[in-house]
Symmetry: none
Subunit: 207 residues, 4 copies
DNA sequence: TATGAATGAGCCTTCATTCAT
DNA sequence: CATGAATGAAGGCTCATTCAT
C-alpha cells in the first residue's frame, strides 16, 4: 500500500505545526477564562508566550481561533464515536457511553466553550457547519447503536432512530449546561439522566 | 388581598417606564442582529432614537441590558407556566404546551438570544441566577403536570418528576438550538420531538 | 431680503465648529512636520491637546483631515481670485498677483502640503475633485484677466486664455515646488519667473 | 578612453543584478498601484515572487526602493537629454522633444510615481538631491538648445536660458500632473501646451 | 543566497462611560 | 430628563526588520 505521495513534512513544518497547536491551546485557555469576546489577541499572545505579530503567522485572524476550537471539539468527540461502535450489548455500550460522555460535557470548561461556540455559531455559518458536522457524526453512531439495541430486543422501536439519537444528545448536553451554571452534584444528575433516557428508550415488551 | 401599598405611579413615572421598555426593546433588537458584544451603546441609542447619555438615565450600564433581557425572557415564559396549570387531561395539556413552547423556542431570534444569554451566564452569576430561576419555575410547573398525569394513570411513574421535567425542557430547548443553526423544517422536527418525549414518559401499564 | 431661514447656530454649535477648526489646524501642522502617512491620529490628538477618541467626534476618519486640508487650501486661494478681479491695468494686476501668489506657494510648508495633497489626489478621486475645483476657479479668474489684458492692448492674443492661465499657474506652482526642495533664493527665482511669464504673454505689436 | 578598470562582473553578479532589477520593478509596480506608504515589504516580495527575507539581500530597507525608483526615473530621462543635443534646427528639435516628453510624463503611472517621489523628496534630502540632479541635467540640455535656437535666430533672447529651461519643464510636468488627475484628452492638452511654450519663447523680430 | 517565522511598536478605530450644558 | 462632546484604554491587525536555518 502506497502512502505519503505528498512529500514528508520537513522538520520546520513539523515545528510550525506544533507551534500552531501550542498557540491554539493558549487561545482556548483564554476563551475558557474570559470568553471569546473578552479575550484579546494580546491575551492569547501572552499566554502562548509568543509575540502578537507571530500569532498572525499561524492564524489569519481572531475568527480562526474559533474554527480551530471547533475542530478541536471535533477531535475530542471522535473517540466516543468509536466507543459506540464496539461490539456488545447495546444497553451496556450505551450506559458506558453515557457515563463517559457526561464526564466530558459536564466539565465546566467544556460547557463554557460549548456555550461560547453555540452563541457564535448562530451568527457564523462556517462555525455552525463545523459544529453541526461533528454533532451529526456522533448522532449517526448513536443511531446505529439504537438500531442494534432494537434488533437485540433490548429496546422497543419508537420513532426514527436518528432523531432519537439527536434528542438524547440534546438532553445530555443541555443538562450539562445547566449543570455548569448551577452547582448541583454532577454525579447525582447523571443518575437521574440515566433513568430518564432509559425510560425514553423503553424496554422491550418481552421483558 | 392587599396590593399597591406603594403610592400609585405618577404620569411621569409611567412615561419613564415606557421609555425604559422602548430602549430595552431596541437593545434586544440589536443583540439579535449583531450579538451582545458586537452591539455598542451607540447602536442601542441609535435604534431607540435616544441620545447615548440618556441611555444611562434608564440603565446603569451595558450589563443591565442583559439583565433586562433575562427578565424579558422570564415574562415570555410566564404564560406557559399558567398554561401548564389549567385543569384537564395531562397528556392533552402537555401536547398543547409542547406545541406552543416549540413555536417560541425554535424561533431563530429567540434561539439566538438564548444562546447569547447562556454564554454570558456562564461567566456572570447574576445572569445565571435570573436565568435558572425562570427555568426552575417552568420546570416546577411541568413537574406538577407530570405528577398529575401519573395520578391520572396516563403516564407511568419513572424517576423524579422534577428532574424529568428539566430533562424534557432540555431536550426541547437544545433541539430548538440545533434547529436555529440548521435549516431543517421546524414542523417536522416538532413531530419527532413529540414522539420522543411521549416515549420517554412511557404509557401506563394498564393501557 | 430674507436670510437665515435656517436656525441660527447655537452657542454649542459654534464652540464645536471652533474645536473642529482647531483640530484641523493641528492635523495640518502634523502633516507639514511629518507628512500625512507618517502622522498618526495620536500625533494629531496630542498636538490639538484633545483625546484621541474625541478626534472622531469631529472627523469621521483620517481621510477626512485630507479633505479638510484641501478645503483650507481652497480658502487660502479665495482672496487671490478676488485680487485678480479688481479694476486696473491687467499687467499691473498680474504683476501684483504673481508676487503675492509666489510668496504663498513658495513657502516651504505650503509646498510640502501641496505635494502631499497632489500625491494623495492621484489615488483618491474626492480629493482630486476638490483640488481641481479650487484650481479651476483660480484659472478662470486669471483667464479673465488675460482677456482683459488683451482687450486693453497690453498683451497679444495667443492660444486659448483658459489654457494659458492654467499653464501659467503650472509654471508658478511647479517652480515653487523645486524651490522648496532646493535652497535657491526665492526672491531671485521670482524675478526670473516674471521675465519668463511676461515673455510668454508677449507684448502687443503696436508697442 | 579607458573603461572597466573594475574586474568584469562574474556570472553570479550578473544574475544578482538581474534579480535586483526584477525586485525593483516589482516594487515600482506596487508603488503605482497602492502608493509608497501603502505598499508593504510583503507586497513587494509577493509581486516579485521572492521571500521577504531575500528582499533585504538586495535592498537594505524600504527607503532604498525609493532611491532605486529615483534612479530609474533618471534612466528614463537620459535619452531625452541625448535627443536635445542632436544637430538640427532648434525649434524642430524642441517640438520633437516636447511631444516625446509629454507622452512620457502625461502617462498616469509616471505622474503617480512623480507625485509620490516629489512628496517624499520634500522630507528626504537624499531623494531630493537625486531628483534635482536628474532634473538639472535635463534643464541644462534644454538650456543649450534654447541658446542654439537664439543663435540660429529662431527665438529671441529673453531672460536666462537655464531658468527658462526650468520653467518650461515645470510647465510641462505640472500640466501633466493635472492631466493625470483630470480626464481631459492628453492630445488636446499637448497642442495647447505647444502654443503656450512657443509663445513664451517668442519669435525672432526679423521673422 | 534564500527562506519565512519571529518581533513588538505602531496603525486607525471603537468602546463604555461621564458630565457640563 | 435629555444631550452629545469628551475621555483614553483597548480593540484587531500590519509594519519594517531580523536571524536561525
Amino acid at each position: 500500500m502506497i502512502e505519503n505521495l505528498a512529500p514528508a513534512p520537513s522538520k520546520r513544518e513539523i515545528a510550525s505545526e506544533k507551534r500552531r497547536k501550542h498557540i491554539l491551546e493558549a487561545a482556548i485557555a483564554c476563551f475558557i477564562d474570559k470568553g471569546f469576546h473578552q479575550t484579546g489577541m494580546r491575551d492569547i499572545a501572552a499566554r502562548a508566550e509568543v509575540s502578537i505579530g507571530n500569532l498572525y503567522n499561524h492564524f489569519p485572524g481572531k475568527h480562526d481561533f474559533l474554527i480551530g476550537l471547533a475542530n478541536m471539539e471535533g477531535e475530542m468527540i471522535a473517540p466516543f464515536i468509536e466507543h459506540l461502535e464496539v461490539d456488545g450489548l447495546a444497553n451496556e455500550t450505551f450506559s458506558a457511553f453515557l457515563q463517559d460522555y457526561w464526564v466530558i460535557v459536564s466539565d465546566k470548561d467544556v460547557a463554557i466553550l460549548t456555550a461560547e461556540i453555540t452563541a457564535e455559531a448562530m451568527r457564523m455559518p462556517d462555525i455552525a457547519k463545523q459544529f453541526l458536522e461533528v454533532r451529526r457524526s456522533l448522532a449517526l453512531a448513536l443511531s446505529s447503536l439504537l438500531e442494534k439495541g432494537i434488533t437485540q430486543g433490548i429496546w422497543r422501536p419508537s420513532g426514527d432512530p436518528l432523531h432519537t439519537a439527536n434528542f438524547i444528545l440534546d438532553t445530555i448536553e443541555c443538562a450539562a449546561d445547566r449543570q455548569a451554571m448551577d452547582k448541583t452534584s454532577a454525579q447525582a444528575q447523571l443518575a437521574h439522566l440515566e433513568v430518564f433516557l432509559s425510560s425514553s428508550l423503553g424496554v422491550s415488551c418481552n421483558n
